[in-house]
Amino acid sequence: MTPVEIAIVALAAGGVFFAVVAAVGVLRLPDLYTRSHAASKSDTLGAVLTLGAAALAFGTDVPTAKTVLLLLFMFLTNPTAAHAISRAAYDQGIEPWTTEEEGKP
């Protein structure tokens, strides 16, 4: 295996790992705000790493440029979308879930 191939495999593996984290987070976390944490961060990184792998696999050419464009786009839009959704929820007055113990320092 060439170094590039190793990098591709490593990036893809990392991407899948963070996508798993995102999926588990979306299923497991208690309310929509915490879930959108998972959606905005882990999923973005998962997607970005995997797209990086795809970009490397294309070699250096127009497709790589396109993949990088896609990557940047995901990077910008995912947090924005998460923000828009949670803001909509916040405006509707959905209270965030908190741990039971109150009155922390």
């Binding site: 996508a19 396109k66 959905i94």
Partner: protein
């Protein structure tokens, strides 16, 4: 186009498969809710997974044309989230 070794191509297809499985798993959150925003978040995650799947398949099969599909899908996915958030908010301006 560089030629990918079969192994790398397999890895990419495998990763695409993993993303597909994750998208199906996240469908549970879409079905379950409970609020509309939960569903939107889940659909958004599925959407970005789809974009990644398309890009991975494009790389694995050496079909750069798929990338345009992925780009448009990413645009639509973002628009979907923004549009739905917008519909649920009374006051103007969402971002």
């Amino acid at each position: 186009m560089s030629e990918l070794s079969p192994l790398v191509s397999d890895v990419l297809v495998g990763a695409a498969g993993a993303f597909a499985v994750l998208a199906v798993v996240v469908l549970y959150r879409v079905a379950r809710g409970p609020t509309m925003q939960d569903r939107v978040i889940a659909v958004n995650v599925i959407g970005s997974n789809t974009v990644v799947i398309i890009a991975l398949l494009a790389a694995a099969f050496g079909e750069p044309g798929f990338l345009d599909v992925a780009l448009i899908y990413a645009l639509l996915n973002f628009l979907m989230s923004i549009a739905i958030s917008k519909f649920t908010v009374e006051r103007g301006g969402i971002i």
